[in-house]
């Protein structure tokens, strides 16, 4: 058992390895959540709506974000015991839709760690960017803010 290291609050990580958004992954994710709109499945329909390729469902960004969040959550020194974690809230802000063909790099921020009444609220923010030609963050595509509630050892 570990306790959450509050010193991680305010930490920002370096951009992670690029995530390549593939058509079949978008189709698979859309089917899994029951999103049947043709813009997720049919390239011609997506292009007919003015997009360069298939459009990701609004919550697909979680797939991209969780790879970045793992940098923090899987760091033993951070002290987040996953068996004590409950997802408290989630917010997606799309500056433009994610589309198939995107190469995305994510910058993870640990925005706050708030301990109260036996629970620590862990809020992370992923800023998901289109990768520039040199792999560095370019255009901001989506912002994903996630809060986990972690029960203390006595809770």
């Amino acid at each position: 058992m570990t306790t959450i290291n509050l010193d991680y609050a305010g930490r920002t990580y370096a951009p992670n390895a690029a995530y390549s958004v593939g058509r079949e992954k978008l189709r698979e994710f859309a089917a899994a959540v029951g999103a049947t709109h043709p813009a997720h499945h049919d390239v011609d329909a997506a292009r007919g709506s003015g997009y360069p390729d298939l459009v990701a469902p609004p919550t697909f960004a979680v797939v991209v974000a969780q790879r970045a969040e793992a940098q923090y959550l899987q760091d033993e020194a951070a002290g987040v015991d996953f068996s004590r974690v409950v997802h408290a809230d989630e917010r997606f802000t799309h500056h433009r839709p994610i589309v198939a063909g995107d190469e995305l790099v994510t910058v993870l921020h640990v925005d706050s760690l708030v301990a109260r009444a036996g629970i620590t609220l862990v809020t992370t923010r992923c800023e998901i960017h289109a990768a520039g030609a040199d792999g560095t963050p370019g255009e901001l595509v989506s912002t994903v803010v996630s809060t986990l509630a972690v029960r203390g050892e006595d809770a």
């Binding site: 698979e28 089917a31 899994a32 049947t36 469902p57 979680v62 068996s83 997606f92």
Partner: protein, 146 residues
């Protein structure tokens, strides 16, 4: 696919409180395994009864992100274009136990919660309930309509 040939609603003709529709999402264990694979969230509390009960849950529960992700399809279809959903948030109010055998049914309804003529957006407030009990709170999608 003709059911999707829906025009984007005209912002000026909408009223706060207007219903956008309702749908049911039936979720069984197979559906959770499918979501686990598609999303990469393999937390065993979403597919392994033994692990779920060991950590104090009544049994296997749905991914909160599954409930959130499946609810917004109603908004996408109403908007006529999934790329118009520019902001989407929720709090996970209650876990959704998924029995085996059997299934849980999410009932999703949406109403227009706010209109912003300047930004050209409508906020849709979703109610997501299982057996009449809300499982998502403050579930709101902002849709760009102009």
């Amino acid at each position: 696919m003709t059911e999707h040939a829906v025009a984007t609603p005209d912002l000026g003709s909408l009223e706060v409180g207007q219903q956008i529709g309702t749908r049911e999402v039936v979720v069984d264990r197979a559906r959770l395994v499918r979501y686990a694979g598609a999303s990469g969230d393999f937390n065993p509390i979403h597919w392994n009864e033994r692990v779920a009960t060991q950590v104090g849950l009544p049994g296997v529960i749905a991914h909160g992100m599954f409930s959130m992700g499946s609810a917004v399809a109603l908004v996408e279809d109403w908007a006529g274009d999934p790329g118009r959903v520019v902001d989407y948030q929720t709090r996970f109010a209650r876990p959704v136990p998924v029995p085996d055998p059997g299934a849980a049914t999410l009932v999703v309804t949406g109403v227009v919660g706010a209109l912003d003529a300047e930004a050209g957006t409508a906020r849709v407030d979703l109610t997501v309930a299982v057996e009449g009990v809300r499982v998502l709170a403050k579930c709101q999608a902002v849709v760009r309509l102009v």
